[in-house]
């Protein structure tokens, strides 16, 4: 019996106007990439409250991916810049909490970049698989002093 391979659970927040369409394009083009991501569509990457990403990790995600429009292309002008600022500060915080760099990514993927989406997904899944499960909400052994 082969050993079960760890399949990372990735939560992906994709903006409606760019990355989500890229995912559709990859799909209609029948591009193959690992199915590990649970995609959540938001209207803009600027909609992303850091609480969403924190909750994703706390509730069992092994990795969190944000996909938004390239700088300058945001459907709402500046939303993706807001996302960029929040992403970096949040990244430092989750790193301080013990979550490895490769688990948390921000990528700019435009509507026509189905292929880039595929590459990013393959790369992320492999990197997270290499680190291993996060299992943030696993039962914790609490040792009391003797």
């Amino acid at each position: 019996m082969s050993e079960a391979v760890f399949e990372p659970r990735i939560v992906a927040f994709f903006c409606n106007w760019c990355t989500y369409l890229a995912a559709d394009l990859a799909g209609t083009s029948r591009m193959k990439y690992p199915p590990n991501a649970r995609v959540i569509r938001v209207m803009c990457s600027g909609r992303l409250d850091p609480q969403f990403m924190l909750k994703a990790f706390a509730d069992g995600a092994d990795g969190v991916l944000i996909g938004g429009c390239h700088p300058g292309d945001c459907h709402y002008q500046e939303g993706n810049y807001k996302c960029l600022r929040r992403f970096h500060l949040l990244k430092w915080v989750v790193k301080e909490m013990g979550i490895e760099d490769d688990r948390f990514r921000l990528e700019w993927i435009s509507a026509s970049e189905g292929d880039r989406l595929r590459t990013v997904m393959i790369d992320m899944v492999e990197k997270v698989r290499a680190i291993g499960p996060l299992h943030w909400n696993a039962p914790v052994e609490e040792v009391a002093v003797s």
Binding site: N137, A138, P139, E141, V143, A144, V145, S146
Partner: protein
Amino acid sequence: MPESTSTRRITIDPITRLEGHGKIDIFLDDEGQVERAWFQVPELRGFEKFAQGRPAEDMPQITSRICGVCPTAHHMAATRALDNLYKVTPPPAGRKIRELVYSTFMTEDHALHFYFLGGPDFVVGPTAPPAERNVLGVIAKVGIDVGKKVISMRRRLRELTSLAAGKAGHPVFGLPGGVAKRLTAADQVRFQTVAADAVEFAQFTLEVFENVVLKNSDYVNLILADFFTHRTHYMGLVDDHNQVNFYDGSLRVVSPEGAETVKFAPEKYLDYIAEHVEPWSYMKFCYLKSPGWKGFTDGVESGVYSVAPMARLNVADRMATPLAQQAYEKYIATLGKPVHHTLANHWARVIELLYAAERMKELADDPEIIDPNVRTIPTAVPTEGVGVVEAPRGTLIHHYQTDERGLITKANLIVATQNNAARIAMSVEKAAKGVLSGKQVTEGLLNMVEMAFRAYDPCLGCATHSLPGSMPLEVRVRNRNGETLSILRRS
């Protein structure tokens, strides 16, 4: 060794009318003699650990949470450590505002202890029913007008601390090189008014003490009782004239005979003071490196020493303000010097209350206090700093090491009551033996045992900011919601 079957055990849990958690376990043999009494501190939080990684300028507000009764003490020790860390000196107004707020705080805290914490034992009586043995009983005894006066005085003092420092509970004003906010002329008038009333109030409190305690021969006998007496070394901050100073100075140690053994700059504390660990308490016990740790014993050969009011008055040659000096002279004339009777701390505390109020008035009257220049911006790259103040409950040392950005890499805190920890343990055991041995144990007598620690006005949250740690006995498995899934115990 199996537990003795003829041993009776009495536990006082929790101890009350102090800051922090503690319990006292008393073991009696079948003749009713006290074999042993343990003073245990069951709490701690780990400040020295979680200070690591924090910006040093946050330490005054983080360390103030070591104690919400004496937050200003920690805030001030931390602020002075920051001065040392950044090699920066506040401008005169900055320093004076700090000392003014500090004197205001000392007045308020010492008054709190007398009326709310330790005082009830004397005003209402040590063996009075527990429901009366508290500030409400004090108010019932001294009358509602006096009670309101006490409450009002405390409120006014705390309002002033809030005025200058943001909040009385966890002030915010300390910065390396000064304070965050200047005082206006209107602020000064408020300080002057309250300070004048505070001096009167302190004198009134001294009168209460004299009338209620010193004129009561039972209480005087209690103060002088051998089972409430220990002969140890004493330590405290003194200024250049060997006068008590809460804010700044050198640390002076005197022997049980009252002779100065050493006087040192606070930054050198590691050469003179060390901490000892016992398996039965989370609180560590400070001792003098010379003569060293010899156990829980009195005497010049033992490293056990004491701090706080009685110690400070032993260490000083005189008080820096006139009314306090008068009171001091009377105190020494009555008890001699050095004073070894632990309950005399209550008297010494009221004398310090008077000094604090007088000092508050001196600073409030100083025209420089309203100078708008209250900050020196530091320019040095930080590495290491030590700050020391006299907290109400004793010498308080904050020692920080940082990286070049000023983030804490290491923090060492010697906190007031820790300096007294060994003597407190000794006092509780000696009092238990003296008060309970061969007697019918009553609730009132147990309170008299508690009086042995209460005189030190201990702050056990302060004393146990840190954790020594140990080996596992009990394993609890909890899920992320905190629900206990299972408990495993090693027998």
